[in-house]
């Protein structure tokens, strides 16, 4: 059995999760501090890929990265080929998984007790230190949950991926595109195997998220 689709899916999901982790947190942190109207507009734009059909995202990605488009041509000069090549899978997964990370991180940042940051500032601690040691620590459950969800979404990406990189065995095939391809070519056993792989991964992910989903309660002082 050729396990390339699993390996390809994992590397695409892993790389895109790392990208989404940083960009999602950065966007969430910035947007959480914006005035209400700007926040509303940015929120719509940043969340759109979550509600759009993935094929529509794929269409837009083709508009950007297509071989005859400016960005596509620009990247070609450096030998980077996005369309019909496995790194395109990263682009597709990033776009689709980003809103999940962004929204969960923003939710966590918004429930963050701002007094903690202010207390750190008045103690003379740098904003960077406060961000990583206090804010991220206080919001770690939300951020971890967002990361796991984004990873799962990236791993299961189908629509935008199939439009952008298609299905080439041993080159661009991912778990989800393989399931479709094998089913289409009447290889029921093969399809079943990859379906089970998918189920196992999804179950593991949901289990992790549930374990992380303990409510971040605010501290209340008891008398002793």
């Amino acid at each position: 059995m050729d396990l390339f689709p699993l390996w390809n899916s994992l590397r695409i999901a892993a790389i895109s999760s790392v990208i989404v982790f940083f960009t999602g947190i950065f966007a969430a942190y910035k947007v959480a501090k914006m005035p209400r109207i700007v926040k509303g507009i940015l929120d719509v734009i940043l969340t759109l890929p979550m509600v759009l059909p993935p094929t529509v995202c794929g269409y837009f990605l083709l508009l950007i990265f297509g071989a005859r488009r400016p960005v596509g041509q620009f990247l070609m000069q450096f030998g980077i080929k996005i369309v019909m090549n496995w790194p395109g899978g990263i682009a597709a997964a990033v776009v689709v998984a980003f809103p999940l990370m962004y929204r969960t991180a923003r939710g966590a940042f918004e429930s963050f007790d701002q007094n903690l940051a202010w207390a750190g500032q008045t103690l003379g601690l740098s904003n960077t230190w406060i961000f990583w040691k206090v804010r991220m620590r206080a919001c770690r459950q939300g951020i971890l949950a967002g990361t796991v969800l984004a990873f799962a979404r990236a791993l299961g990406e189908y629509g935008a991926t199939s439009m952008l990189i298609g299905y080439t065995p041993g080159r661009t095939a991912t778990v989800s595109t393989t399931v479709y391809q094998l089913w289409r070519t009447n290889d029921e056993q093969g399809a079943f195997f990859w379906v089970m792989v998918n189920l196992a991964i999804s179950a593991a992910v949901l289990l992790t998220v549930n374990m992380l989903e303990k409510k971040n309660g605010r501290l209340k002082w008891r008398s002793k």
Partner: protein
């Protein structure tokens, strides 16, 4: 003077104007919630930016709108004890205190000072606990320790006891006062609780709707609040409009009485206040026939609500509080107030 503040800030319809100074003393700002006390502290700490004005601490300019100086909170060296103590989650008591020592580069000195502070604040036993495992008092001491090791030039306390059970409050107030007795820099506390303000502060400023009013010694303020807002905040239950009719005489139309006052009455008198504790059945002056409307028993006191003989219709009953031992079988037919206890209110 250690701290000099003269700031202005608008937020929608709310207008904050605070001008005061605070030396090396325990000063308090007394005001109802939402009056701008915490906003004032935040402006001093650099968390909020005033629209106009100047803040100077020990001749260091922290904020000056004209010279466009606005130091970030990190450079102000102002300690801020938050209402909920704001202990960093996921860090033990010891780690929280260590956060205040980040300027000390020598690791051994850092550890020595942390241990000293833990000992001073009696936190050794809980030093390895996370904030959520602490009692209110321990959490407060941890937050205080984190600030004290940081050696700020000014210590600010934002309603430091409001997160605690009322029964713990008195105990911790005494404790905190004792702890800070040796503190040689200015302390600025905001509170809405007059008992707390009276116990803790040497000097008090009264804040109402963003305006800093009377600032004076705590005892003087309680003895002569001068303004209606200060009278209410210091717990005066009975306030009625009044007019000057003589050097030492006012009339109170609402109560239908004429009062002799201890202090000479200035022009511009707006109202008089009489504390519920200051009514007695046997005063020589200012004694008036009354009707007792209702009596309520408290643990150690009685509260009577009464009306003066010629009290205006619809005017709320007047309150009197008196100790259980002065209770008589027959309710008093008349009640009076010593001239010195008539509070003259001008604003």
């Amino acid at each position: 003077m250690a701290l000099e503040v003269d700031i202005e800030k608008r937020l929608g319809s709310f207008h904050l104007r605070a001008a005061f100074s605070c030396g090396r003393e325990f000063m308090g700002i007394l005001g109802a919630s939402g009056c701008g006390k915490s906003m004032t502290l935040k402006c001093i700490a650099g968390i909020e930016k005033p629209d106009r004005g100047r803040i100077v601490l020990d001749s260091r300019v922290l904020f000056d709108s004209e010279k466009r100086i606005n130091l970030p909170p990190q450079q102000r060296r102002v300690g801020y004890l938050f209402q909920d103590y704001a202990l960093f989650p996921g860090m033990t008591v010891r780690e929280n205190i260590l956060c205040g020592l980040h300027r000390e580069k020598d690791k051994q000195k850092r550890e020595k000072r942390t241990e000293d502070m833990l000992e001073l604040l009696r936190l050794q036993e809980v030093a390895s606990l996370q904030p959520e495992a602490l009692s209110g008092g321990q959490a407060q001491r941890t937050a205080l320790g984190r600030i004290l090791v940081n050696e700020p030039d000014l210590l600010m306390l934002d309603e430091p006891f409001s997160a605690l059970d009322s029964y713990l409050r008195l105990k911790l107030q005494t404790e905190l006062k004792a702890l800070l007795a040796g503190y040689d820099r200015g302390i600025l506390m905001v509170t809405h609780d007059r008992d707390e303000a009276f116990r803790m502060c040497e000097r008090l400023g009264v804040m109402e709707q963003g305006q800093m009013q009377t600032v004076k010694g705590t005892k003087e303020l309680f003895a002569d609040p001068e303004t209606r807002a200060a009278a209410v905040l210091t717990g005066c239950k009975n306030i009625a409009e009044a007019q000057k009719i003589g050097e030492h005489e006012v009339i109170v139309p609402e109560w239908g009485i004429r009062l002799t006052t201890g202090k000479p009455v200035r022009d511009g008198l707006k109202a008089v206040g009489i504390r519920a504790h200051d009514f007695h059945p046997d005063t020589e002056e200012n004694c008036f026939p009354v009707r007792i409307l209702r009596e309520t028993e408290e643990p150690f006191e009685w509260i009577s609500e009464f009306g003066f003989e010629h009290q205006a219709d619809g005017s709320p009953p007047v309150w009197r509080r008196y100790s259980r031992e002065f209770r008589t079988n027959e309710p008093p037919k008349q009640l009076g107030v010593a001239p010195a206890d008539v509070l003259l209110l001008y604003e």
